[in-house]
Symmetry: C2
Subunit: 372 residues, 2 copies
């Protein structure tokens, strides 16, 4: 069978899950093709040694492609591929960079930003430089709302808030203080000046690959600040010096991530994907705005995320019906997070334009049918 | 094509890698079959939500099958599926169970046992209850060689030492003190009384599945000892209460692990696999012993592992030739660890008997050809 014939036999839906999320179909097809024999080795990529030249090539290529896409150079930056998700980074960041007597500043824009601050507060002193909690995390603080502590060890922010559908549209100015970001839900989705960050990280399961690997991008000069006496497994320096092979890495997730990087380069890189992501998001935001309050967006307009689109319907019964009818059309994973309710469409890089067109059309039809 | 026809087209070797290691072929075939559409969901298992009923079924079934195979009941034990490998457990064990003022006892039987003790010593006080380092880690201490501290918080051991090819053949008696074990390289490979352990853990990439997931089996009563003030991400209690879903788990590795558990049950469980593993190991040890010192085993005979078989040849040149000629026969991954040198055959559960027969025959032929 040729590719078209195989695909005709495969049942696929539009998957709006917030993470784990949809992956590019060509990536899955490639993984499928190589699953029992990785490029003539006679082994699955799950069975090859993490110290073999085959795996070395995968992880080296993943790092190089990541930096290329991010517009960063390998003289100044390293990409580490670690385990434990963003949640382990919540601990590793202060373990490495929050010494006794110093304070780390956190900007609260959602539950995960809160979690990052709370875990850090078990390691050292933290300060909340701004919070939009009072208004249901519908917005992102403006530069003038940020109130930093006198001499922070670093400033931590969350660039995109999956649950609320908000996204930073500017990079805050915090002078010479290292800027650290959790970019789990919008990493490599748009062209921004990543050199402004000293460290950023992302669980892979939204924009980079499957769950089980976390990308940590660190400016090399930061490695000099890592204390020698912290446990090896938490030390960015140890992981950097061993090329992410201090212990056995999550090989298969890294392999898929590498294929996703290749796919993203084939799409034309970050500028091209940003244009597409904006087009995709606009289709759905227009369906919200045209509905004259049948759909009510959660995020303030100027903070709307291009990755996660959150909205409510007139009542919960109608939301339930929306989810049921959407599922019949093959539009899956649209249930909002319990803390916001309603609907959430997660449209990461791998969601095709057709998925958003189909959803926007469905939203318009549903509105016309059910609007009182 | 039917299964036999497909397999004829697939190049597969005998893979003696120490981990990541060979996986059961039926597991890989199942994963391949479901890779683009997991059981009618229209999504890959990498794309489904970790909070979906589909994934719930995978992780619940993985835990139940694991306990069933291990001969443990779910009233007293939990299995957690975490990230970070055994190396993160080296930290989590003392974080949870080594309070200030107490000492934890470690038994040194190899580099990984050393690492476990060293990482713990950054958290609290440790004591080395026995060590076989002086004799090149060729043996396992006897019960009478163990010298425990007065009132240890726990005793930690490594049941199988991958690098040296040694394995504990008894479970040490340490009275009421909780016994904790790193079982990364022999977990679920033999029938032993696992109720003697309060906690045991294993990186999956040897006997359980692919790299990227770590199984931690914990007696429920131990959870009451976990301090409330440790970071959530390190707390066994937090992970147990959330059913390993405190943060996004490594879904795909857990899925493969679950398939491996099903496969292991199909093989007849631990008693059956133990008999097979002993038969497999014996074939290779006999080839060593029959060679009249052409092959020299590293481990003392009474401590020989059924999982990793380590041996040297007369010189390094001969070892190089051995590896080259073995590779020509499709016998891969046989290079020993740099600290022992020579040859290492890792023959975990998923290595078929035919692989060991082929290797033993190759060893005999090679010996006959090259013995002076």
């Amino acid at each position: 069978m040729n590719r078209e014939e195989v695909l005709l036999l495969i049942h696929r839906v539009y998957n709006f899950n917030p993470g784990p999320a949809t992956l590019p179909l060509p990536v899955l097809e490639k993984a499928r093709e190589e699953l029992l024999d990785y490029r003539g080795t006679g082994m699955s990529v799950m069975e090859i040694s993490h110290r073999s030249s085959d795996f070395e090539e995968i992880i080296t290529s993943a790092e190089a492609s990541f930096l290329e896409l991010a517009g960063l150079n390998n003289r100044d930056y390293r990409v580490l591929f670690l385990q434990g998700g963003a949640s382990l980074q919540f601990m590793m960041v202060p373990y490495n960079f929050l010494p006794d007597g110093k304070t780390a500043d956190y900007i609260e824009t959602g539950i995960f930003a809160e979690k990052a601050q709370k875990e850090a507060s078990r390691i050292g002193k933290t300060h909340i430089a701004a919070s939009t909690k009072d208004t249901g995390y519908r917005s992102i603080p403006r530069q003038k709302d940020l109130s930093f502590s006198p001499d922070p060890a670093y400033v931590h922010l969350t660039t995109n808030n999956t649950i609320y559908g908000t996204q930073w549209k500017y990079i805050p100015d915090c002078g010479d203080v290292p800027l650290v970001a959790d970019m789990s839900s919008d990493i490599l989705s748009r062209e921004i000046d990543l050199t402004k960050f000293s460290l950023f990280y992302a669980g892979a399961q939204k924009n980079l690959g499957p769950a089980g690997v976390t990308a940590v991008v660190i400016r090399k000069s930061m490695l000099e600040r890592v204390p020698e006496n912290i446990p090896n497994i938490f030390s960015y320096k140890v992981h950097a010096e061993s090329g992410s092979l201090y212990n056995t890495p999550p090989c298969f997730p890294i392999y898929i991530l590498q294929l996703v990087m290749e796919w993203l380069k084939d799409q034309g890189g970050l500028k091209a994907i940003e244009i597409l992501n904006e087009k995709k998001a606009l289709l759905i935001y227009e369906a919200i705005d045209r509905s004259e309050n049948f759909y009510r967006g959660h995020a303030q307009k100027e903070c709307r995320s291009t990755m996660n689109i959150t909205f409510r319907l007139p009542d919960e019964k109608m939301e339930k019906l929306f989810l049921e009818e959407a599922a019949k059309e093959g539009l899956m994973g649209l249930k909002g997070h319990r803390s916001v309710g309603g609907i959430r469409a997660s449209i990461y890089n791998a969601m095709p334009l057709e998925g958003c067109e189909t959803l926007a059309q469905f939203m318009e039809d549903f509105c016309n049918k059910h609007k009182a």
